[in-house]
């Protein structure tokens, strides 16, 4: 069975989709690379489509097509079919290869497959909620190799980390064009509230309620890092020592970034507290990097902040191990110091405190509580060097993030500029 492939219509359609990442490029054509039949009647097809740009470049995208060759909005109809196929551990032959559906655990047993709806509000993928209990995530831009989200959540599940939505399965394609993960099926948590929303609700109004939850958050993030560092036998996850040269390279990049941001600092009241202090920030960087080593680096979450943790079932869960979708897949699989994740969360506290106008000490208390429980959770893993080095590295990564935020907010959200400015001032004050 081959659906009519309507190139022109698809090009028009794709151009307007949220998940289409290359919006600035001129889309000139589309062609079908291969497709797997998800359902015979009425036809539903899982298609790999090559999109071509004016520059000569091209990308591979996953589209769910109906019998008329039109994309199914939000991929919603695919949800129950994917669950059915995963449950059956199906192998679907295609023209140039096969689509393989893999169950993981038995979380999908007994689902009636009666209801499905698009989750909505997503950037780079399409997710479908099935029976309000399973989430089918359809990756849109397809790159060769295993998706880090699947790789990481499966690794964590197999290494005893349970503070995340359960992984139920995945499906992938292997054939002449490439081998790649197409999507995953995981537990859906209808009553989960993400950490950012929770912080906005509580941090100003009931700071105590939020602060009570923070120690557990530190514990969960610590347990995640401990699990990620726990298997020296798996080269994709084994912890690595960091060389002095890589620290020097990172420092040189940060130094250039600081110099460049301060060179172009606007004449604006919001940046007044740091205006003219570029050299002091560079001195601080030099001081923070004079430590000889970055200790060890591991696979980490890659994009950890309050929006990436969920309060559900009375506990914290970490979600979305995909890393930054704008970066290439191999880049997202790189190892980093776990303290970069930690710094991400600390900066997220700063944002939440600033946005909500929380009491002065709320951010401070959240930081302290988070770090204490995190440090305890990773004890004995060898992930952290001495407390002095850890403190320096944390400040180093916070500085890196704050400078990045400053550049981002200056060009995208001028109202938020005071948040990174306050962060940089704080780091300068701590140093003097």
């Amino acid at each position: 069975m081959t659906a009519a492939f309507r190139e022109e219509r698809l090009v028009e359609y794709v151009r307007d989709q949220r998940w289409f990442g290359a919006r600035s490029s001129e889309l000139t054509g589309a062609s079908l690379v291969d497709q797997a039949v998800l359902r015979e009647r009425p036809p539903l097809l899982d298609a790999l489509v090559e999109l071509r740009y004016g520059s000569g470049a091209h990308d591979l995208y996953q589209l769910i097509l109906d019998g008329a060759g039109a994309d199914v909005p939000g991929a919603s109809e695919a949800g129950p079919e994917v669950v059915r196929l995963v449950r059956a551990a199906a192998r679907v032959p295609t023209a140039d290869g096969e689509a393989a559906f893999e169950p993981f655990g038995d979380g999908l047993t007994g689902l009636p497959l009666e209801r499905s709806r698009p989750l909505g509000a997503e950037q780079s993928n399409s997710s479908v909620v099935v029976d309000e209990s399973a989430l089918v995530k359809v990756y849109r831009r397809i790159e060769a190799g295993e998706n880090p989200e699947l790789e990481t959540s499966r690794f964590l599940a197999l290494h005893g980390f349970e503070s995340m939505p359960a992984l139920h399965g995945w499906w992938s394609y292997a054939g002449a064009p490439l081998a790649a993960t197409l999507g995953i099926v995981q537990e859906f948590l209808p009553d989960g509230a993400d950490g950012w929303t929770l912080a906005l609700d509580e941090l100003a109004a009931r700071p105590g309620a939020f602060l009570e939850r923070v120690p557990r958050l530190g514990e969960v993030v610590g347990a995640m890092h401990a699990a990620l560092a726990s298997d020296g036998g798996d080269p994709a996850f084994a912890a690595e020592e960091v060389t002095g040269e890589s620290l020097a390279l990172a420092a040189a990049s940060m130094d250039d970034e600081i110099a460049s941001v301060f060179l172009h600092l606007p004449d604006d009241e919001a940046v007044a507290p740091i205006a003219g202090h570029g050299e002091a920030v560079r001195d601080l960087l030099r001081d923070l990097t004079a430590i000889g080593s970055l200790a060890r680096r591991i696979r980490n979450h890659g994009d950890l902040h309050l929006g990436q943790v969920l309060w559900a079932r009375g506990d914290w869960l970490v979600i979305d191990f995909e890393g930054e979708p704008a970066r290439s897949l191999p880049e997202r699989r790189n190892k980093h110091s776990p303290l970069r994740d930690v710094a991400g969360m600390l900066r997220s506290f700063a944002y939440a405190a600033q946005v909500t106008g929380a009491p002065r000490d709320a951010e401070e208390r959240a930081r302290t509580a988070f770090l204490e429980s995190y440090t305890t959770a990773v004890q004995g893993t060898g992930l952290l060097a001495s407390p002095e080095v850890t403190e320096r590295l944390l400040r180093l990564f916070e500085l890196e993030k704050a400078v990045y935020e400053l550049r981002y907010e200056l060009s995208h959200r001028p109202d938020w500029v005071p948040v990174p400015v306050a962060g940089i001032v704080r780091l300068l004050e701590e140093a003097s």
Binding site: G145, L178, A252
Partner: protein, 568 residues
């Protein structure tokens, strides 16, 4: 269950590699936007402390290369070789020189480079082999040997007399008598490098097998060494023959069919009007080196005259859309003066080769920094000009820190000394005993590793290395420099080299003062009237362009790169 999953994962990964598709295949024209970095593996980093650089050492330095911002590594020959010509004398096309490691080490390195977004191309000599190659040994052994016709044999040494001798310093003829074979064999380079006979279909097929072997291992392409000389025909120079182009088209068709985003880079040290034929109609090589530009850049800065550069680019015919020039200031060979006039050559020798030891064949065997008397302004100016011209620039390892050379070492070894990583023993290149090093690192007070090394320059914000890093990033941020058209401005003050590059909506204006003294220049920019030049490094806005000549003043060897903005 765990085991099943682990197997499945391994299977997926293997399938992905075998299928040969990787992340970057989303852009077949990547090479048009790339900055290349040329590496002598032996001299880069020693991973096993035996005194010679290798793939393990190279892999350890990928963080550095990624930081530097380059897009593609070009490796000098890595194959087994008796090393009588720096590895360009290959004795086995299907293996790695034991000093550099194994095929597995190679593969690990290529995968690790890809994981960082860096591509890898390698030198391949298809014109000839080493006389040690089993093919040649078999060929010479017997007139009835099935390999006899794989090389070019003759009973006399007077055929193809119109072919020039390239290695003038060492060779007296392109024919050498082989007492074992009882015949003369043909060689365009050293006498230990017999030319393969491309009139033999078996040779053509064998070389395609070589290409496929490395492409299947993940290599992103080849720099095809000595490509004009594949065929011989009586009464011709035996260079750039139609048969040679036909064979290159065959290689290209193979690559397009099975390896769509790999690249062929022709080394053809010829005049631009001859070199362009190596692009074919977009159906031969993707890239070719723009050789004649390079000596003229050095001529221009010494004579303080932009004309040699402007003229040679003007004489360069247009190239197909999917093709790109490769540009360089210095490489692993001598600065070749074959493509300049005799008068210019004498001038270059008098200016740049004050010691006769600095000369080699028709060239000068020195590195970038010593050629420019270690002048920081001069190095920056030359790099800026290189990066502003149409083509993809190639950096030679060590030039980003201003490494020197050692003219007391033989042949071209003087520009192939160990990379200087730190001020520690052996410059951080190797932990082997000094005496075991393949060549001594530089130790003189000006260019030695204690004065010039990566570690110190990383720490120093104003260092050449940090400047090159920023400059590579700047060029990459503006596709106009890789993809844009080129329009020379020819101002009245010939000491100033000025041109406009345009791509889509972006207009770049690059103006360089070649003089060692301060200079003014008036540019006719009336067609850009109303636009505002924004200096790219500091993003400073300059006065708006009007109908009158636009005045700029420069310090000695100064330059400006502007983006012309219509929106301010």
């Amino acid at each position: 269950m765990t085991q099943t999953i682990a197997r499945q994962t391994a299977h997926d990964a293997a399938a992905a590699t075998e299928a040969g598709r990787q992340w970057f295949e989303t852009d077949p024209l990547w090479f048009k936007r790339a900055v290349f970095y040329e590496i002598h593996i032996r001299g880069f980093a020693d991973g096993n402390d035996d005194g010679s650089g290798d793939f393990r050492g190279l892999a350890e330095k990928l963080d550095y290369l990624q930081w530097l911002g380059i897009d593609c590594v070009w490796l000098l020959p890595m194959y087994p070789s008796p090393l009588r010509d720096g590895g360009y004398d290959i004795s086995d096309f299907f293996s790695i020189h034991p000093d550099y490691g194994t095929i597995d080490d190679f593969r690990t390195f290529v995968d690790a480079a890809h994981a960082r977004g860096i591509r890898v191309v390698a030198d391949l000599v298809i014109n000839h082999t080493s006389s040690d190659h089993p093919w040649f040994q078999e060929s010479r052994s017997d007139r009835r040997s099935p390999k006899r016709d794989w090389y070019v044999w003759s009973d006399t040494d007077d055929r193809y007399r119109d072919a020039r001798i390239i290695f003038l310093d060492t060779e007296v003829s392109n024919w050498t008598w082989d007492p074992v074979a009882g015949q003369y064999y043909w060689h365009r380079f050293f006498s230990h490098q017999p030319d393969l006979n491309y009139d033999n279909p078996e040779v053509q097929q064998a070389m395609l097998d070589v290409l496929r072997f490395w492409l299947d291992l993940g290599l992103d392409g080849f720099r095809l060494d000595a490509v004009p000389y594949l065929f011989e025909r009586e009464g011709t120079s035996c260079e750039n023959l139609p048969e040679t182009h036909a064979y290159l088209k065959r290689i290209r068709a193979e690559i397009d069919a099975a390896y769509p985003d790999r690249v062929l880079l022709a080394e053809a040290n010829q005049w631009p009007s001859d070199v362009v034929h190596y692009f074919g109609d977009g159906d031969e090589c993707h890239m070719a080196f723009q050789f004649p530009v390079m000596p003229r850049l050095f001529l221009a800065i010494r004579r303080e005259d932009a004309n040699p550069v402007v003229d040679i680019i003007e004489q360069t015919p247009p190239i197909p859309d999917g093709a790109q020039w490769g540009l360089f200031l210095r490489n692993h060979d001598e600065l070749t003066l074959e493509m300049v006039s005799e008068e210019e050559r004498d001038y270059m020798w008098s200016q740049y080769a004050t010691d006769p030891r600095m000369k080699l064949n028709l060239g000068i065997r020195r590195r970038l920094a010593p050629l420019l008397d270690n002048g920081r302004d001069e190095i920056e100016l030359m790099t800026a000009i290189l990066f502003s011209l149409p083509g993809s620039p190639v950096l030679y390892y060590g030039d980003e820190i201003g490494m020197g050379d050692n003219i007391y070492l033989g042949d071209r070894d003087g520009v192939r000394t160990p990379m200087q990583w730190t001020g520690d023993r052996n410059g951080g290149f190797s932990r082997a005993d000094f005496a075991r090093l393949y060549l001594p690192p530089l130790m003189d007070p000006v260019y030695g590793y204690q004065a010039v090394n990566v570690e110190a320059q990383l720490r120093t914000p104003t260092s050449l290395l940090r400047w090159v890093h920023r400059f590579v990033a700047l060029r990459q941020a503006h596709p106009v420099f890789s993809l844009g058209t080129y329009e020379p401005l020819r101002p009245e003050n010939a000491r100033v080299l000025a041109h406009v590059r345009r791509y889509e909506d972006e207009v770049a204006l690059c103006v360089h003062n070649l003089s060692r003294s301060a200079q003014p220049v008036e540019l006719d920019l009336s067609r850009f009237a109303g636009m505002v030049p924004e200096e790219l490094f500091g993003e400073t806005l300059f006065p708006r362009i009007g109908e009158l000549p636009y005045l700029l003043t420069f310090g000695p060897r100064g330059f400006y790169w502007f983006r012309l903005r219509g929106d301010v």
